[in-house]
Amino acid sequence: MNDPEPKTLMDLPPGFVFDPARASKFTTRHGHGGWLGIAYHAHGPDWVELALPWREELVGVAETGVLASGPIISLMDNATSMAVWTLAGRFMPHATLDLRVDYMRAAVPGRTLIGRGECYKLTRQIAFIRGIAYDDDPDDPVAHVTGTFMATHGTYL
């Protein structure tokens, strides 16, 4: 009845249809995503875009102003994770098994980075993901990622 306001994705009621725009408030206000300033940008049936605003604190090479890879991995981990739930249609707990990031070029200092995560295959236990990070033109990405998630409590399908 008067359920308390959910504070994390874990508190969502069973059967909740996953909506990345609404769910973003859980993953982007608290914790590491909140500290990074990651925000919802756009989504489709099997993809989610999140935005990471550039700031001085996130720089990995002081002389160049180029972002560290940690924030880029965090952005892509979050975007691809949400793409999995979006394709599955519901939230379920899962763990990142692995992520590979190829850096095609340096992100331009000062520009917001958009992370586009896509779930290209869902099996009962494993979700296969890929994505790009870009700061201006999706056809000229900063980074390309691939990886897998595993459902930790129950199955995706």
Binding site: M10, H30, L58, V59, A68, I73, S74, P93, L97, R100
Partner: protein, 131 residues
Amino acid sequence: MDTDLPPYAHALGITIDHVAGENPVLSMDFGERVQGRPGFLHGGALSGLMEMAAVAALRAELARRGESANLKPVNVQVEFMRGGTEQRTFAAGRVTRAGRRVALVNAECWQDDPAKPIALAQMKILLSPGD
């Protein structure tokens, strides 16, 4: 020595905990800013810590050789093996191969037991002549 770490490391509270042999061991305390799902470290923060450890190990190796180089990451592969819990995390890198143009560096991170790493990373880094 901490001054060698970039702004990202300072912002996350990553510091050089100690030097084992000639290799720096980095640490990061648990807190809201590195938390993913409640009670656990965010994989991106772990990856960030391992990248800092990998780069620190490579810089230490180049310094031993009396070389200086500008580093440009090519790619990184991260394996998450255990959830990181609410405690201090350590990370160290190991230079597997550093030639003149490219270096392959492995890194791992652990919490209470170095024999039970919670995540591994492998980075490829381009080297170009330093100033």
